[in-house]
Symmetry: C2
Subunit: 216 residues, 2 copies
């Protein structure tokens, strides 16, 4: 990364290589969540960040590499907000924390377009290629994480033994997805409360000690 | 409509005004469900249907009018497949028929891109204007229909009196939405079975006679 190790912005700030890369990907994630990954442009990013176009280009080499890196960066943000804090808990408490953190993260508009992954999944769902494959892989990783968390809570005796982790993960995930549509189309923020209610009631039905979800 | 009342296609078929209009909107709905409403082009439609560009233009006058008419036409298709057959039933049977018909209609790919409305809602969610307003109005009309159907089943004594129609409609709708993502990203058609299971179990919990949903 020697050629772009240090870069001076138009407003005089000095950015080092990794810092520049992070700043580019942060802005790229914001833009893509609203306007789509396909509309990402190296020129637009350079203008927004006040750096040279060749500096941005040097970091990624192509628009596709920039798109893939943006997805990886958005995944890191998701893990930081949703997964890492929940992993301080165990069993049912961890499962509930993951569900709540995810809803909070969508509601807080960490990405201005809401959930980065819903936005780009719909954009690229029907378009074969590396970008779609990467989005699908991240989506699979998320659902598998949710399923494993359910299995752990069941193994710890905190969920009924008959719980189907794949079915339960599908349903918990569906409620959050529905908020995305409600908020994007109708600015209907009551959808977050509906999703929270749906997740809590769904978990109470299969929790061995439903009272653990009372405070929620 | 006098100037385009009768039109001869490049392969010699003769189309009358309403027939042409329907053929255009049918093809426009197919294309938009896969490629988006924004990518609709009067030239592309004329080529696909073997009619003149000016003939297509005469029907709609502008791309925006074509988009709005395509949404109206997709709504008619939805009503024909999902709503009309269900309205032969009453109470809980009607509610269950609406849920099943909707899932069948998405699964059958009546529109090649899956659910026309999910596809365009995600495309236009963040883009203010008449097209978004029309999509939002159709989405609202659908949710209100679902809520009224729940209220009727409750008033008929077939659902528990404590059922919240808005909450229940949100959840039933969410399951179908989640199939869209699963199928578009992963070609995972088991999602339809998961959505069917989720809808049936959700209704069984609030049905006064859950056995009515057994055969389902």
């Amino acid at each position: 990364m020697s050629s772009f190790d240090v870069m001076t912005t138009t407003d005089g700030r000095v950015l080092r290589g990794e810092q520049t890369r992070r700043a580019i990907l942060h802005r790229a994630g914001e833009l893509a969540s609203v306007e789509g990954l396909d509309n990402l442009s190296i020129g637009r990013l350079a203008t927004d960040l006040g750096v040279s176009k060749s500096g941005v280009f040097a970091h990624f080499g192509s628009k596709e590499e920039l798109q893939l890196a943006t997805i990886g960066s958005a995944r890191d943000v998701f893990v930081e907000h949703v997964v890492t804090p929940a992993f301080r808990e165990r069993g049912l408490a961890r499962l509930w924390a993951i569900c709540e953190n995810r809803l909070d993260y969508v509601q807080a508009r960490v990405f201005p377009g809401g959930c980065f992954f819903y936005a780009v999944a719909h954009e690229y769902g029907g378009r074969p290629g590396r970008v779609r494959d990467r989005i699908a892989a991240e989506e699979t990783a998320w659902l598998e994480l949710l399923q494993r968390t359910i299995e752990s809570a069941r193994a710890a005796g905190e969920l009924e033994p008959g719980v189907d982790p794949v079915q339960l993960a599908f349903e918990l995930d569906a409620y959050v997805g529905a908020t995305h549509t409600a908020v994007m189309l109708h600015d209907d923020s009551t959808a977050y409360d509906r999703a929270r209610t749906a997740m809590r009631e769904r978990l109470r039905r299969v929790a061995v000690r439903p009272e653990l979800l009372e405070s929620a």
